[in-house]
């Protein structure tokens, strides 16, 4: 009977261990995202992302996809965020679900931080290689020192396959072919284990004898000297010398094995090329702007002058990555994320073409649930209640012009 009991106890213990191990390693893949809490003024007045393209919506492990487009560094940059003198083109994904295989601004590889100029527009591309299966929200993202992550729009991308299949092959400048995913892992474990074992051995040497109470009694009765024997000192000496010799030998063998090593590479990259945008021939003046809380709509009164030589119409208002379009003028064909696209969200009181030289004051309303969903409406609770965004005008041939608006916003609660 006792035997059975013991067996049951043993099996239960094993079962418990197995369950716990399984529990600890069980990590299913599913995700959401987390950008909505950023102060609305920060999303509206820092980096404006546009013309974005996610090359794929589903990608297999080891395959690549890219996110590319343009960003405009807003000239009316808020005081509370440090200027983007030290910025890093990051990617808003939940950790290394993709590896960043490459990232470019203006055609220049940007593995390091860069200096950006206010008021300029840059094109960018981030190349990603799928590593961990799941459905992930992939955002464009710019980190600004003293400002934090400034997140662009995100789109769901599905990675299929198994993480075990992921490899990261490279050839070093010394001609060695490696898989960075597992490279040097054995030696990392080995050296740590060796040194840990030496530490444990030293501890065991002392722990195997009575420790606290008897030694306290000996010391308090003046017999401290009896606690350390000549043999203890010999062993101590052996450990000390052994450590020094081992350090010397391992340093030497390592240098032999890796004769070519270089220091970590770092440094700010300046002189990043921006895009020469065509000169704007539209002049926009914001007469007033209000946000109507119950209607989830922003209404602006704009005085627009067309200084160009062809008629234009207002097609899009883009703020904080939400795009409000006038369906009569512009239709999105880029596959922009649905939740950030208000296809008929822009209403202009009179959107007949502005003839060359014409000035007209119109009322423009941008309305969509996105104001609430993306918490842009919280702008009215921000300590710097201004809004900003990009306006896109189109002529008959579809040529586009971009202008900025930046003005105070008055909330309306009725």
């Amino acid at each position: 009977m006792k035997l059975i009991k013991d067996k049951v106890a043993k099996l239960s213990f094993v079962a418990l261990l197995v369950t716990m191990t399984a529990a600890i390693f069980y990590t299913p893949t599913a995700s959401a995202h987390g950008e909505k809490s950023q102060a609305a003024f920060m999303r509206m007045r820092t980096i404006h992302w546009f013309d974005l393209n996610w090359s794929k919506e589903e990608v297999a492990i080891n395959d690549t996809m890219s996110i590319s487009g343009k960003f405009h560094v807003f000239a009316g940059w808020p005081e509370t965020v440090d200027k983007p003198e030290v910025s890093f083109l990051n990617i808003g994904i939940p950790g290394p679900v993709f590896i960043r295989a490459g990232s470019w601004i203006g055609g220049q590889l940007v593995p390091r931080s860069v200096s950006l100029e206010l008021g300029e527009t840059y094109d960018f591309k981030v190349l990603l290689r799928a590593r961990r299966p799941g459905e992930w929200h992939v955002h464009s993202m710019m980190n600004v020192e003293g400002g934090g992550p400034i997140i662009g729009p995100g789109k769901w991308v599905t990675i299929t396959g198994s993480m075990g299949e992921f490899t990261n092959p490279l050839t070093t400048l010394t001609g060695q072919q490696i898989d960075l995913e597992t490279y040097a892992l054995d030696s990392i474990y080995f050296w740590h284990a060796v040194w840990y074992a030496i530490g444990v051995a030293w501890l065991l040497f002392w722990v195997k004898r009575p420790m606290f109470i008897p030694r306290h009694i000996a010391i308090s009765s003046g017999k401290a000297a009896s606690l350390i024997s000549a043999n203890d000192k010999k062993v101590g000496m052996a450990f000390a010398l052994g450590t020094v010799i081992m350090l010397g030998v391992t340093m030497g063998t390592t240098n032999e094995k890796y004769p070519v090593t270089t220091p970590l590479q770092a440094g700010l990259m300046r002189g990043i090329k921006w895009i020469e945008m065509p000169a704007t021939t539209v002049d926009v003046k914001v007469e007033d702007a209000t946000y109507r809380v119950p209607g989830r709509a922003m209404q602006m009164t704009l005085t627009i002058t067309n200084n160009g030589d062809s008629p234009i119409r207002l097609g899009e208002f883009n703020t904080a990555s939400v795009r409000f379009l006038d369906a009569d003028v512009l239709e999105d064909e880029s596959g922009y994320p649905d939740d950030l696209l208000a296809e008929e969200g822009l209403t202009v009181s009179d959107n007949s073409p502005w003839a060359p030289g014409e000035t007209r004051t119109v009322s423009v309303t941008a309305s969509d649930a996105a104001w609430e969903v993306y918490r842009l409406a919280d702008l009215i609770y921000d300590p710097d209640s201004r809004f900003a965004g990009l306006l896109f005008f189109f002529d008959e041939d579809g040529n586009r012009q971009m202008t900025m608006v930046d003005a105070p916003l008055i909330p309306s609660f009725i």
């Binding site: 418990l16 716990m20 529990a23 600890i24 390693f25 069980y26 990590t27 299913p28 893949t29 599913a30 995700s31 959401a32 995202h33 987390g34 950008e35 909505k36 809490s37 950023q38 509370t80 965020v81 808003g92 939940p94 950790g95 799941g134 929200h137 980190n143 003293g146 400002g147 934090g148 992550p149 997140i151 606290f212 109470i213 008897p214 306290h216 009694i217 308090s220 918490r375």
Partner: protein
């Protein structure tokens, strides 16, 4: 634990000096509980913990926070209240053997304290560093904070204060006053919890990136040093126990 000298005498004949069951079950309890927590993090941090504005975040994480806060207040009041209410009013008249038994029991508490400190200060604190690499920190109450600050820290505080109360109410050694280092070792790590206030206040300036060595975090460091005061507790205990068994050990 017996509250009167009479019952103590009766117990003393039978009860073992160290109830090993308490020790192993206690250690197992923390291990199983924290394994469950780690499983919960593994599952729900990824599926519901990346966006603090999503409804599922409220379900799986904010509710977790509310439940743990209530449970901790209830547990702390019950445990500390019970330890105080059942205190031994005649602590100076217990037998040496009973005193030794209580020292053992006290060390069961201290082992739990060490174990709880490990989970709180080491496991869940460094874990926070890696979670904040994977998310955009959009709330004070990120999944790792809900576990680290509001679960694992209160648990070691509850354990530490319980240990202190046990010593103060049952052991003659601690009846002469308040043991300074014991206070430091319990209150210091406790102060890590209020220091969360400084941390979160600092993080409201902007969306800080995850730099662990930022000066904003030094409050935690300072209070972490208080863990060293456990050495004072060890020394006092060794002196007391040595007094009890010295002549037999010689």
């Amino acid at each position: 634990m017996a509250a009167t000298t009479e019952s103590v005498k009766a117990d003393a004949a039978e009860a073992p000096l160290l109830n090993q069951k308490n020790l192993w079950l206690g250690l197992l309890l923390y291990l199983v509980f924290y394994s469950f927590i780690r499983w919960y993090e593994g599952v729900y941090a990824w599926s519901a913990g990346l966006d603090s504005f999503a409804p599922e975040f409220e379900t799986y994480w904010m509710n977790m926070l509310y439940i743990e806060l209530v449970a901790e207040v209830v547990l702390a009041s019950a445990l500390w209240g019970w330890l105080w209410k059942t205190r031994d009013r005649k602590v100076m008249s217990i037998t040496p053997r009973e005193e030794l038994r209580r020292h053992f029991h006290h060390w069961v508490w201290l082992c739990m304290y060490g174990w709880a400190i490990y989970w709180g200060a080491s496991y869940f604190t460094e874990q926070d560093g890696t979670w904040h690499q994977t998310i955009v920190r959009d709330t004070d109450f990120t999944p790792s904070h809900i576990i680290e600050f509001y679960l694992s820290y209160p648990i070691y505080i509850i354990t530490g204060v319980s240990s202190f109360l046990y010593a103060k109410t049952r052991l003659p050694t601690y009846s002469e006053g308040l043991h300074l280092m014991y206070l430091v070792s319990v209150i210091g790590p406790f102060m890590i919890l209020p220091n969360v206030g400084l941390n979160e206040w600092g993080h409201t300036f902007w969306f800080m990136e995850e730099l662990f060595v930022a000066p904003l975090h030094y409050g935690f460091v300072f209070f972490g040093w208080a863990a060293l005061a456990v050495m004072g507790v060890v020394n006092t205990e060794v002196m007391s126990i040595a007094k009890l068994i010295k002549k037999d050990l010689a």
